[in-house]
């Protein structure tokens, strides 16, 4: 099948589907798509992700969602109920383990078995494929809020079949955002096709009357990614999802740390995504936003970590994001206990409650920042359309090869890897090295000027050492990595 950004035909979809369901034994359990849709229809509205997100957007509320997942079914249910009942999570996740993300289901079996033996989870998430549709339905039935699969899987086709059949009404990921930050040697052509499948499946559910939400993964590598880079990827994935029939799209952004820039990023993302969808003929999509609390290195000191969490929550509220993804005080050391996870949610919700109804008012600074982000984003997306001769999927494959969009610190060999970011003197993330990103001279000059201000203030050359210092700065207790 040749890659292009066209809605799959039934022949294409059901042809691939047959193979996919045979890749692991639990695939058999989801073979009857009509029955799956029937089950999904029985999920009540308050447990429907798309509906809850749309309602929150209309009411101007920011919802809080943790990350969480462990190896064993009963333990996973216990964890989610705790986060719902004690933490007050508005939306629940099932974070999927790293073996599943690489389709290594036999290694998941080892992890499940050993976790049972030693009485603690040896997997870093919930192996949804191994637990199958029955297990995943038990999870949904045990909770009282919508459920989303959160992972990082380049080929999530079987997982996607299983979770939607189980009534989970949101799936995170996309052909770029679940490849470049998560894989080393999977081509973008491959992952775009595999995510077209996932999106087409959602389209089929939508056509049958079941609303399902899709969320491109906003933060990418989570390491000082300039807002326009992540916004461009989010919008491209939103457009490709809409083509396959997706109607509920949540575009995401990972906190960079400068308040004005973060608010600008979310506002630019919402309005620019709406614009691109409309201009490409997708008129009935509901676009919402997700703000990820700081995704980079955290302070090990838990009190300091709560500071980072509160700060991210405040920014999410002031930006007007529809939901916020919550970090925990254990972030610096890895996967949190359920108690630590719960504390993260409570901190977040308290901050959101205090700021409910307030948004950062427009100012000259905010206006400038929104304009810069939109202009930079437009340069990248329009170039993809141009080199794809109007086809965004083809343009995206070529564009990554050429460095039109270039994601910093990505493990994938399909990423160009010549762009480098650094913070300016106010902590906003700018482009330090442009690589092949097709910015206008004005945009390049603006970035250079901003970084030179910092260089002058710190009395050092603008260069990669700034980037390295910035990566560790928050962990050490400040936003900008000043020379020691």
């Amino acid at each position: 099948m040749e890659l292009n950004n066209k809605k799959w035909t039934d022949d294409e979809f059901y042809g691939v589907r047959k193979q996919i369901l045979n890749t692991w034994e639990t695939g058999k359990g989801v073979a009857d798509l009509e029955k799956n849709i029937e089950y999904a229809k029985s999920v009540p509205d308050h447990k429907n992700f798309a509906k809850k997100m749309e309602k929150a957007k209309n009411e101007g509320i920011t919802l809080a969602q943790p990350r969480a997942g462990v190896a064993l079914l009963d333990k996973h249910i216990e964890l989610l109920r705790y986060l719902q009942d004690d933490g007050g999570a508005d939306l629940l996740p099932s974070t999927i383990d790293a073996y599943t993300r690489l389709n290594r289901y036999d290694e998941c079996e080892v992890g499940i078995e050993e976790s049972r033996k030693v009485g603690r989870s040896l997997l870093n998430g919930f192996p949804g494929v191994n637990h199958g549709v029955e297990g995943c339905r038990r999870v949904l039935e045990a909770v009282n809020v919508p459920l989303e699969a959160r992972h990082g899987t380049p080929d999530a086709r079987l997982l996607t079949e299983i979770i939607h059949a189980a009534g989970w009404t949101s799936n995170e990921g996309g052909g770029i955002s679940y490849n470049i930050p998560y894989a080393k040697s999977v081509s973008i052509e491959r992952t775009i096709k595999d995510w077209q499948y996932c999106d087409r499946l959602v389209g089929i559910y939508e056509e049958a009357g079941v609303s399902i939400n899709r969320e491109p993964f906003g933060p990418l590598t989570g390491t000082i990614v300039p807002p326009s880079t992540s916004n461009a990827v989010a919008i491209v994935e939103a457009l490709m999802a809409a083509e396959q029939g997706v109607k509920s799209i949540t575009v995401g952004y990972g906190q960079c740390g400068n308040l004005i820039q973060d608010v600008a990023a979310i506002r630019a993302l919402q309005s620019q995504c709406d614009e691109y969808l409309r201009n490409n003929g997708y008129n009935d999509c509901v676009v919402t936003t997700v703000f990820h609390q700081w995704m980079g290195g955290f302070p090990a000191d838990e009190a300091k970590a709560f500071g980072v969490i509160s700060n991210g929550s405040a920014t999410a509220a002031l930006a007007g994001a529809t939901k916020v993804i919550v970090k925990t005080p254990h972030e610096a050391i890895g996967i949190p206990t359920k108690e630590a996870n719960c504390e993260g949610i409570k901190t977040t919700k308290m901050t959101l409650n205090l700021l409910q109804g307030q948004q950062l008012p427009m100012s000259e600074q905010l206006k400038t920042e929104i304009a810069i982000i939109k202009a930079e984003t437009k340069c990248m997306i329009d170039k993809l359309f141009e080199i794809g001769k109007g086809d965004l999927a083809i343009g995206a494959v070529k564009g990554f090869d050429m460095g039109v969009i270039d994601i910093p610190f990505a493990p994938s060999k399909y990423n160009f890897g010549k762009m480098m970011p650094a913070r300016d003197n106010n902590g906003a993330v700018r482009y330090l090295k442009f690589g092949n990103i097709p910015f206008t001279k004005e945009l390049k000059d603006y970035n250079v000027k901003k970084l030179e201000e910092r260089g002058k203030f710190e009395g050092r050359e603008v260069g990669f050492q700034m980037t390295v210092d910035d990566i560790f700065a928050v962990g050490k207790g400040r936003l900008v990595g000043r020379p020691e």
Partner: protein, 140 residues
């Protein structure tokens, strides 16, 4: 730049782990400090580290793991080194090498008994590891 002190270090991120940021920084800092760095990158099985070490006659292997599966991924690595004829190579491991917050003494002992010469807790800067590595490799 690179190889001014004559020592070769293999680095990488083990298992199904795709955390690339620390890996790129370790590469940068060690190279800046005169080491020859062979970087097998993320999502690397034990064999990739060991093959690279054999091919380049490396002095040490630094295994990183950030995602929690380190305990499963690192088992048997010392034996595989022995089989490959580099049984005495310095073997370091660091990162968030187990799932969740556990008592560090226990984790340290678990990995030492797997044959790792040095085991580093979460958040150890590469500069710290480098000082101890210079001691172990007798570099001034």
């Amino acid at each position: 730049m690179g190889n001014e002190n004559g020592k070769t270090i293999v680095i990488g991120v083990i298992g199904s782990d795709c955390h690339a940021v620390g890996n790129k920084i370790i590469d940068y800092v060690l190279t800046e400090n005169g080491f020859k760095v062979i970087n097998v990158g993320v999502i690397s099985p034990q064999e990739d580290f060991i093959n690279a070490a054999v091919e380049t006659n490396a002095d040490a292997i630094i295994v990183s793991s950030l995602y929690g599966h380190g305990e499963i991924d690192c088992r048997g690595m010392r034996d595989k080194c022995k089989e490959a004829g580099i049984g005495d190579i310095l073997l370091y491991v660091g990162g968030n090498i187990v799932v969740g917050k556990q008592k560090w003494e226990d984790v340290h002992e678990r990995f030492q008994s797997m044959g790792f010469d040095r085991v580093y807790p979460p958040g150890t800067p590469i500069e710290h590891t480098m000082v101890e590595m210079k001691e172990d490799l007798k570099i001034n």
